[in-house]
Amino acid sequence: MNRQRAKELLIDYLNGHLEDEQREQLEELLSKDEELRLETEAMKREMGILRSAVHDPLEEVRMSTVSNRVMSELRSRREGSLRDLPLSWRSYLRAAAVVFFIVVAAALFFLLRPAELAETPPFADADASEEATPPAVETEEAKPRSMQMSFATDDPKVKIYWTFSEKFELDEEGE
C-alpha cells in the first residue's frame, strides 16, 4: 500500500469500515509515514469540526414532531381512501347503500304506519283459498268501514289486495 492509496482509504479507516487486512497495512504505513499521520490528524479534526457545527440540540423534540406529522398525514389520507377505490368497488358500494336505504325505509314504514293500516294486514294468507275473503268488520262504530279488492296473478302464491278506507262513501245497499 502506497501513500496515495492510504490517503484514499483514510476516511473508511477513521469510520471503522476497513477490513482487517487493509487496516493492518494502513496502520503499518501510519507508523512509518509522518506526512500520512499529519493528514490523518487533520482529517480527524475536520470531522470533529463538522460534527460539532452541524448538529441539532432540539433533535429529540423535532423527532416527535416528525412522527406526529407523518402519522396524522397517513391517517387523513386513510380517511379519504374511498376516493381511491377502483370503479367496480365504487358501484358495489353504491348498490349496497341503495339496498340498505330501501331496507331501512321499509322497516320504518311498517313500524310507524298509521293504526288503521296496521290493523288491516296488507297481504292475506295466500294459501288459505283462491278467493280472498275481506276481513270482517266487528262493529260499525268501532271499525271504519272499508272494502278490499283482490286480484289474482299468474303466480298462485301472489295476490294483489287493494283496500279502500271509509273515505269512500257507500250507498245504503253497499254498492
Binding site: I11, H17, I49, L50, V54, R62
Partner: protein
C-alpha cells in the same frame, strides 16, 4: 471465549435488530399502524441528521423527513430487510436534498442566519463563529461534494455506502470527498487558525 464465539456475540444484536425490523415490516405491510410508527421511530433520527447535514436548516430537514417517510410508507411492499430499508432511506433522502439544493440556490448569508439556532445556548461565541464558517463553507460545495462530505465525515458511512446512496461508485465518492475537503479547508483556513 474463542474468536468465532466473540464474532457470534457481536453479530447477535445486529441479527436481532434485523429480525425485529423484518417482523415490523411484515406487520406494517398488513396495515399495522403501530408497526409502521415503530419503524419510523427506529429510522427517523438517521434521516433527519442526514437531511440537516445536507440542508443546514432544521425546518427543511423536518419537511424532508416527512416526505421521505410518506414515500417509505408507499414503498413498504417493495422493501426487503433492515439494510435494504436503511440504504433506501439514505438514497431517497440524498436525492430529495439534491432537489432542494438545486431548486433553491440559497444565499450563504441566509443560511448563516439560520444555523446558529441549532446551537446549544451554552455554546460560546467561538462555537457560533465556527458554525457560521462551516455553514458558509458547506454552501460553497456542490450538492454531490456536500453529500460525499456529509455522508462520510459527518454521518460516518463508508465510501461504499455513500456511493450506494448517491448512485455512484466508491471511488467517485473519494474524489468528491477530496475536493470537498480542499474547499472546506480553504474556506475555514482563517477561522480555523483563530479558533481551533
Amino acid at each position: 471465549m474463542s474468536t468465532e464465539a466473540a464474532v457470534d456475540a457481536q453479530a447477535q444484536p445486529e441479527q436481532k435488530t434485523t429480525e425485529r425490523t423484518e417482523k415490523l415490516l411484515a406487520a406494517a405491510r398488513e396495515g399495522d399502524e403501530w408497526a409502521f410508527e415503530e419503524l419510523l421511530r427506529l429510522h427517523r433520527s438517521a434521516v433527519y441528521r442526514l437531511a440537516l447535514g445536507m440542508l443546514g436548516d432544521p425546518d427543511e430537514a423536518l419537511d424532508i423527513c416527512q416526505d421521505v417517510f410518506l414515500r417509505f410508507f408507499r414503498s413498504l411492499r417493495r422493501l426487503r430487510a433492515d439494510r435494504g430499508i436503511r440504504a433506501w432511506l439514505r438514497r431517497v433522502t440524498i436525492h430529495r436534498c439534491y432537489d432542494i439544493l438545486r431548486a433553491k440556490r440559497r444565499s450563504r448569508d441566509l443560511k448563516a442566519e439560520i444555523m446558529p439556532s441549532c446551537m446549544h445556548p451554552e455554546d460560546g461565541l467561538d462555537m457560533r463563529q465556527l458554525t457560521q464558517a462551516v455553514v458558509r463553507a458547506l454552501d460553497i460545495l456542490s450538492p454531490r461534494e456536500r453529500a460525499a462530505l456529509i455522508l462520510t465525515s459527518h454521518q460516518g458511512y463508508s465510501s461504499i455506502e455513500a456511493g450506494a446512496a448517491m448512485g455512484c461508485r466508491s471511488a467517485t465518492v473519494r474524489v468528491l470527498l477530496h475536493r470537498a475537503r480542499g474547499k472546506l479547508r480553504k474556506a475555514l483556513g482563517l477561522v480555523a487558525g483563530e479558533l481551533v
